[in-house]
């Protein structure tokens, strides 16, 4: 019993921390609300889809930036997709860096090619970093959830 409570407390603390750091926002709460008996793994499914989708998009972005002549329209489209996905699951910081990325791309008329390419690569770097951060954290979160469920407790969602 104690361990369950402890685990649950750990889970709660961890989640609160994620919210505090701005990694997740209210949308994640909404997702958790959608999880019920008829749809018990909803959150995990959505987040897994997000991981797959994002990794695909990040690969595309990296490839696109390595081209001789970079197609910024395509890059913009990819980032837009990533932004949409991250906002759908509530990955706030990923969303934010995507917005910044798009803003940089819009200024392409003004800056020179090389500078823009470098800037885009820097943005991509940032996105990748935020993404891996949120991925690690969410994976840890899910592991904690599993532990709680295994110990016989229930997940105190939503908050």
């Amino acid at each position: 019993m104690d361990s369950v409570v402890q685990l649950q407390r750990q889970l709660v603390d961890y989640t609160v921390q994620l919210f505090n750091e701005g990694l997740l926002d209210d949308q994640f709460n909404q997702l958790q609300q959608l999880q019920d008996e008829s749809n018990p793994d909803f959150v995990v499914e959505v987040v897994t889809l997000f991981f797959e989708d994002s990794e695909r998009l990040l690969d595309e972005l990296a490839k696109a930036l390595e081209q001789q002549s970079v197609d910024y329209t395509k890059i913009d489209a990819h980032v837009h997709q990533l932004k949409g996905s991250s906002s759908s699951i509530g990955a706030q910081r990923v969303q934010k860096v995507c917005i910044d990325f798009r803003n940089f791309c819009e200024e392409r008329n003004i800056e020179g090619q090389v500078y823009l390419q470098l800037t885009c690569q820097k943005c991509l770097h940032q996105v990748k970093r935020e993404y891996s951060l949120v991925k690690t954290k969410l994976e840890t979160l899910f592991k904690l959830e599993q532990k709680v469920l295994a110990a016989g407790g229930s997940i105190p969602w939503p908050m």
């Binding site: 609160v16 919210f19 759908s88 908050m159």
Partner: protein, 737 residues
């Protein structure tokens, strides 16, 4: 032998006499010959002599006379007959000519005399013209002086410069000894010496304004000669034997601005004048000429005009400066206000977040506690903790709301809820407190009160709780009764709410709630103050009262938002009081299952829209999955597609709602195609846009392609629920951003 008619000289001894006669005749002849020559010469020289032929005649006459005398020379001695003949001829001719000349002269001399008269006349005329020329020149010079003076005076708008320039120029133009200006003092009873020409720092003389000489000058608009001994002229010390020059004084009208404000034209009676005194140099025997006086009068008028301009300019500059100051002050105040608002908003935002975080922890852990094994008492306690914490979260939200309420940016969250349950919940919450105070509470719900209603449940609850809470707080003993019923038209028009004209109709009703207590009552005069923020009346302040006083203010605003009215009736201190509010609620068209209105964390497994066929179009996989999950959670039958072609292929009349992500490149096009495919409104699904931002352009685009509503992504469960309710009720979504 011819007879000799010649007379032989009797006295041969008179040869001397004859010699003298001889010589005289010779010289006479000479003179007689030279005179015409001179005449001819000079006449030839001059061209204007009109009497040429007279001259010829005269010349002939003289010549003949000369000839006669010349011939006479030969007659002194023996002479021949020829000589005699010649002599006779010449004498005859001479006689003729001289007679003719004499006759002619009779005509000519009057003419010649009249020439002289004409000459005299012309000379007079010339003299007169000269005089007039002199006058005109003087006048023209005066005019020039005036123009120059005017130009000098009018080229500056500075009062001091104007007056100084006037004096200087006048002094120069008219070569004055002294020129002085007396201005009326503020009291208007005296004239003060303000400016002089020669003296640099005039001693501050004053003379009373009612002197006869001053009145004389002020009563006429002409320059008036005054005595050098009058007090206004005695500016310089009289140095003994000098005979002072003539002095002239003229009035200078001072136009005050106020003259133009009362009527259109300044009134004569309120005119003020200054006095300008001009003194000619002493001992110069100069006199004031008319043109000089005229000059002075003209200058005085010009000075008046220039002074009035200067006064107007001063006034307008002052007004402008004042306005600029006010502008600066206002700008400063505005910036301060803006800063204050920003600071307040920042503070609220931060505090909001800071307050929510521990609240989340409390709620989460209380929920956890609920899941564990508890005794019934413990369970009750935990439940109360949870409810209180939720209430507190609501309160925190409402502190933010209040600022949003004041900005006008708060909107009600409409939803279907159980109306009866609201009141029971309030009762349950307040019962513990009331029983501690031994107050008896009754709840009376009218039989015709609908069980379900559409409105902002949370805020209705908050308002009711606030009102009831106040009743409990301010009653030490007795009972409190809560009644709720549907307000009928007659009771709607209450004299206490004179500008409240509700119009009941089929789809909404007015809920009237009365909370009556038997507590302290309120002084009727204090009632208006109660609804203002943070105000607490003196009589109510006692040990037990606490709270910031926001409650009634917030409640009033909520009631207003719900298109209602709230007021308090009390007969006075000690007679209890009744709080009444009326709010507008909508009647739900379909009966919904009741759900617990209070705990937002209650299970959401219930569906509000069983079997509703919905289509979702979104090209983003994650987004699509989330929206789908959301709708499935609400019980809908969801089909999710990722391309517009697929969407148009799949869509059918059975689908009631279509959600389109308008960030897709062809999102809007789908809406257009849909309108083409389903021409009749009831055949096609309702189209709702899921948009990433809510700016005007997006909304307009959605309206343009004929969408039925727009929602901002990401969508919460509650939001989606209310959206669907609204949609299905009204067939169109109002602004739900």
């Amino acid at each position: 032998m011819e007879s000799c008619n010649c007379i032989e000289p009797q006295w041969p001894a008179e040869e001397l006499l004859m010699k003298y006669q001889y010589i005289s005749d010779f010289f006479i002849a000479l003179a007689y010959f030279s005179i015409p020559l001179e005449l001819i010469y000079f006449v030839k020289k001059s061209s204007v002599f009109p009497y040429r032929w007279v001259l010829v005649q005269f010349g002939a006459f003289i010549v003949l006379c000369g000839a006669t005398h010349l011939i006479n020379l030969w007659t002194f001695n023996m002479h021949s007959r020829t000589v005699a003949v010649v002599m006779t001829t010449s004498k005859v001719l001479t006689a003729v000519v001289s007679c003719a000349t004499a006759l002619m002269l009779v005509h000519i001399i009057p003419d010649l005399l009249s020439v002289k008269t004409r000459e005299l006349f012309l000379k007079n005329k010339a003299a007169e013209l000269d005089r007039e020329m002199g006058l005109i020149r003087t006048q023209e010079e005066t005019g020039r002086h005036v123009r120059m003076l005017t130009h000098e005076i009018r080229s500056t708008l500075d009062r001091h410069t104007i007056l100084k320039t006037t004096l200087v120029e006048l002094g120069r133009t008219l070569a004055l000894e002294e020129c002085a200006l007396w201005m009326p003092t503020r009291t208007g009873l005296e004239l003060q010496l303000s400016y002089t020409l020669r003296q640099q720092n005039p001693v501050e003389y004053t003379v009373p304004i009612q002197l006869p000489v001053i009145n004389q000058v002020f009563s006429s608009n002409r320059a008036v000669k005054i005595s050098p001994n009058s007090p206004v002229a005695r500016i310089r010390p009289i140095a003994g034997k000098y005979m002072p020059g003539e002095v002239v004084a003229v009035r200078v009208p001072l136009l005050h601005l106020s003259n133009f404000q009362i009527n259109d034209w300044p009134e004569l009676s309120t005119r003020r004048y200054a006095l300008m005194v001009l003194m000619l140099p002493s001992d110069s025997a100069r006199q004031w000429h008319v043109h000089e006086l005229e000059l002075v009068e003209v200058v005085a008028d010009q000075v008046a005009v220039a002074l009035s301009h200067a006064a107007i300019l001063e006034e307008s500059m002052r007004a402008r400066d004042l306005l600029m100051e006010q502008n600066v002050a206002l700008d400063h105040a505005r910036r301060e206000a803006e800063t204050a608002i920003r600071a307040r908003n920042d503070f609220l935002a931060v505090m909001n977040h800071e307050m929510r975080t521990p609240m989340h922890a409390i709620i989460a852990l209380s929920s956890l506690l609920q899941e564990t094994e508890l005794t019934p008492e413990q369970r009750l306690m935990v439940e109360t903790i949870l409810k209180s914490s939720n209430l507190l979260v609501t309160l925190i939200n409402d502190v933010l709301d209040l600022s949003r309420l004041e900005d006008g940016s708060l909107q009600l969250e409409l939803g279907t809820f159980n109306l009866h349950a609201v009141f029971w919940e309030v009762l349950n919450l307040i019962k513990p407190v009331a029983s501690v105070k031994k107050l008896h509470i009754t709840l009376d719900l009218a039989p015709d009160l609908p069980e379900c209603a559409i409105g902002d449940e949370k805020r209705l609850m908050q308002t009711t709780l606030n009102v009831v809470g106040n009743a409990v707080k301010f009653s030490k003993e007795g009972s409190i009764s809560i009644t709720a019923f549907v307000a009928k038209s007659e009771s709607l028009r209450d004299i206490r709410a004179p500008d409240f004209f509700p119009a009941p109709s089929d789809d909404h009703f007015y809920l009237r709630v009365q909370v009556k207590d038997s507590g302290q009552g309120i002084n009727p005069q204090e009632i208006p103050k109660l609804f203002t923020k943070f105000a607490q009346t003196q009589t109510l302040a006692n040990r037990n009262s606490n709270g910031s006083g926001l409650g009634l203010a917030i409640s009033k605003r909520f009631v207003n938002l719900m298109e209602g009215h709230i007021w308090i009736e009390s007969e006075g201190l000690g007679k209890g009081c009744t709080v009444i509010f009326i709010v507008k609620l909508c009647i739900p068209k379909r009966s919904n299952e009741s759900k617990s209105p209070f705990l937002p964390n209650a299970n959401h497994g219930q569906s509000s829209f069983p079997g509703l066929k919905v289509l979702v179009l979104d090209d983003n996989g994650v987004s699509r999955m989330v929206t789908r999950g959301l709708l499935v959670h609400l019980g809908c039958d969801v089909t999710a597609v990722s391309s517009s072609d697929e969407c148009l292929h799949v869509v059918s009349q059975e689908h009631k709602v279509l959600f389109i992500d308008v960030c897709m490149p062809d999102g809007f096009e789908v809406a257009v195609r849909l309108h083409e495919k389903f021409t009749k409104r009831h055949e096609r699904p309702l189209i709702v846009a899921l948009a990433g931002n809510t700016d005007k352009v997006t909304k307009e685009n959605c309206m343009r392609v004929g969408m039925d509503g727009v929602i901002l992504k990401p969508v919460s469960v509650d939001k989606m629920r209310s959206v669907l309710s609204d949609l299905l009720e009204h067939w169109v979504l109002f602004d739900t951003m």
